[in-house]
Symmetry: C2
Subunit: 344 residues, 2 copies
C-alpha cells in the first residue's frame, strides 16, 4: 500500500522532521500542499509543544506527523563532562567565553507519558519515533486515538524489530540522510547502509509499508525510490531553503555553496552520530570522537561556542545539518517544493 492510501494524503512525500531548523510553519505548508508535514518535538518543552500543536490544528485539516526521540536518557557523568570541557577549553578561550558560565543539561528529552497525555488532546494522526520505539504502554497509548506509529530503521535487523514491536510503517533511513542516524540496536557504524542498498533489503524483510529516506532530493529521486518499491519517501534537506524553514542565513549560504558537497557523521554535537556539513570542529577533533559525553549530554557545552561563532558569522561550530545530497535545495515555498517532488 502506498503512503497516500495509508495516511490519507495526496502525494507520496513526507517532510522529514528537522529539529533546530523548522517548526510548525513548514509542517503546515507541506500538509496543506498534500504531502505530510512533520513537527520535530525532541527539543520542545511541553508548553512549546502545546503551542505548536495548536498552530498546526488551527491551520490545517490534513494529516500531519509529530516526531519524538525515544532514547534512554544518559546519567550525567561529571568525569566525562570535565573531559569534554577540557577538550573545548581552547575554543572557549578563543571566543572569550568564561567556562564557568557554561550550563550543563541535556536539551533533548525522550518521549514520555507527559507527551502522550498532551498528544491525546490533539490526536495527531501520525507519530514518528527515532532511536527505536518508546515503552509498549506508550506505543499503545499513542495508538489508542487511532494514530499511526512509524519509526526509522537503519538496518534490516532494526526494521524487523520495529515491525515486531508495533510500528505501522517503517522509514528506511539510508546513510545519506542528514541529522541523527536512527540506529538503536547497535552503535557500530559499519552496519549503516546506503538507501539504494537498505531499501530493497528492508522491503524483503517486513510487510508493513516502507518509506525511503536519505539522499532523495528531487522528483527523479522520488521516482527512483518508488521504482525500488518504496511506499513513499521522506525528504529533509531539500526543504532547508524554503521560507517556512527557520534555517539560519549562515546555514542557507552554506547549502548553496560547494561546502554542501562534504558532510560527515559526527558525534560531537550531541553524543550520537548525526550528519552535518564538515566543519572546523570535526576537522580538529575528529568527526567521531571519544571526547563527547553520551547523548544528548554533549550539546550544552557547545551551545555558547555555537552562539559566539554565529554572532561573528563563522561556521566553525554551528551545526549546519545536511544530508549527502543538497542538490535539490530550492528557495521556493514548501508547498511548491512538495508538488515538484511528487511531479512525474
Amino acid at each position: 500500500m502506498n503512503i497516500q492510501e495509508f495516511f490519507g494524503i495526496e502525494l507520496p512525500v513526507i517532510q522529514a522532521p528537522m529539529a533546530g531548523v523548522q517548526a510548525s510553519a513548514l509542517a503546515i505548508a507541506v500538509s496543506n500542499a498534500g504531502g505530510m508535514g512533520s513537527l520535530p518535538c525532541a527539543m520542545l518543552t511541553i508548553e512549546s509543544l502545546r503551542a505548536e500543536l495548536q498552530a498546526i490544528t488551527a491551520q490545517t485539516q490534513r494529516p500531519y506527523n509529530v516526531n519524538f526521540f525515544c532514547h534512554t536518557p544518559s546519567a550525567p557523568d561529571a568525569a566525562r563532562e570535565a573531559k569534554w570541557r577540557a577538550v573545548l577549553a581552547p575554543y572557549y578561550a578563543e571566543f572569550g567565553i568564561d567556562p564557568a558560565s557554561v550550563q550543563a543539561g541535556s536539551g533533548r528529552a525522550p518521549f514520555s507519558s507527559e507527551h502522550a497525555e498532551l498528544l491525546a488532546t490533539f490526536r495527531p494522526p501520525v507519530v514518528s519515533f527515532h532511536f527505536g520505539l518508546p515503552a509498549p504502554a506508550l506505543v499503545q497509548r499513542v495508538k489508542s486515538w487511532g494514530a499511526k506509529v512509524i519509526a526509522s530503521a537503519t538496518t534490516v535487523a532494526e526494521a524487523r524489530w520495529l515491525e515486531a514491536n508495533g510500528a505501522d510503517a517503517i522509514i528506511a533511513q539510508g546513510l545519506e540522510a542528514g541529522g541523527h542516524r536512527g540506529l538503536f540496536l547497535s552503535d557500530d557504524l559499519t552496519t549503516q547502509v546506503g538507501t539504494l542498498a537498505l531499501l530493497p533489503q528492508v522491503l524483503r524483510a517486513v510487510r508493513v509499508p516502507v518509506i525511503a529516506a536519505g539522499g532523495i532530493a528531487d522528483a527523479q529521486g522520488v521516482k527512483a525510490a518508488l521504482a525500488l518499491g518504496a511506499a513513499g519517501v521522506q525528504v529533509g534537506t531539500s526543504y532547508l531553503l524554503c521560507p517556512e524553514a527557520t534555517t539560519t542565513a549562515l546555514h542557507r549560504a552554506a547549502l548553496q555553496s560547494d561546502r554542501a558537497e562534504h558532510t560527515a557523521l559526527t558525534n560531537l554535537i550531541t553524543g550520537r552520530p548525526a550528519r552535518g556539513m564538515y566543519n572546523r570542529l570535526m576537522r580538529e577533533l575528529g568527526a567521531l570522537s571519544d571526547a563527547p559525553p553520551a547523548f544528548p549530554l554533549a550539546t550544552s557545552a557547545l551551545m555558547p561556542l555555537k552562539a559566539a561563532a554565529e554572532k561573528l558569522g563563522r561556521d566553525d561550530f554551528p551545526t549546519l545539518w545536511a544530508g549527502q545530497n543538497a542538490s535539490g535545495c530550492r528557495e521556493i515555498p514548501a508547498a511548491e517544493l512538495t508538488r515538484q517532488l511528487a511531479s512525474t
Copy 2:
C-alpha cells in the same frame, strides 16, 4: 546518451570487474548476453593477461572491458612491514605459520606501458581504471586504437577531474559498492557518498555519460538508477553466485547467509579501503587501522593466513568481498542474470 549506444551493446548493464572472484569466463558470458563483461586485470601477470585476452577474443565478438588499477606504487617500508607482521604474529602462531616463510611483495601492479603494448595487439573496445587515470601518454595510447576510457569517481570533484583528464564516461561509485573504493583525490572517507546522493550530483557536474555503481542488485535497482538519469549501471555483487564466477564455496555460502547483511570498508586487506563482509580480522584489529602498510603492500603478509583459514573452512581471514546489497545474488548463469537485470 545511454551506454547501449555509447558502447554498442544491447543492455544497460556492465558487469563490474572483480579481481579474485572472476576471470574471463564471467566477462565472456555477460558480453555474449548483450551486457558488457569486464576482465579485472590488477592481479594478472602479463602472461596471464595475454591468455585471458585470447580467451575473450576467441569466445565473443561483442564489446568487453578490461579493468586496471592506476595507483602510484608505494615504496616498501621495512618498519611498517615489521609493525604489520607484529600485529599479525598471534594469528601466525594460532595457525602454525612460520613468520619467516611469509613472502613480501605487492600482488597488484598499476597499469603500465607494458600493459598498453599488449592491449594494443587485442584492441579492447573499453578500458576502465580505478584510482584515477594513468599518465596522459598512457591514456592517449589506449585511445589510439579507438578504445573508450572509463573510470570511477567517488565524489563530484573526482568526476570533474576525470572528465577534464580524458575519461569518456564516468562510473559514479556509491559507498554501497563492494571491493576497493575508487577514491583518489582525497583519502578522507567522510567524502564518500551513497549512490542515490552521488549520482544526481555527478550528473549535474559532467557532460560525459555517467554509469551508476553501488547497491544496484536487481531489475528494480537498475530501473531506479536509470530513473535518476544514469546512462547505465555497473553491477558486481549480484554476479558472485553465477557458475562462471570463481567465488569460493566459503564465499558463496556467506553470500547466501545473514552475514552478507554486514559489510565494512576495511584497509586491512590491501592497505586501501575496500568493502567486504565484516569478519574476525576487522572485529579484532578494527576495520580501518593504522597497522597495515600502504596499498598494495598489506596483502602479502595476509596471504598465508587466508590460505590456512580457507583450508579449514574458516572465514576469519579470507576476504569475502561484497557490496552492501547482496539481495540480488542468484545461482543462475551470468547471461540469464544479465537479462534479468535489464528486464523492464
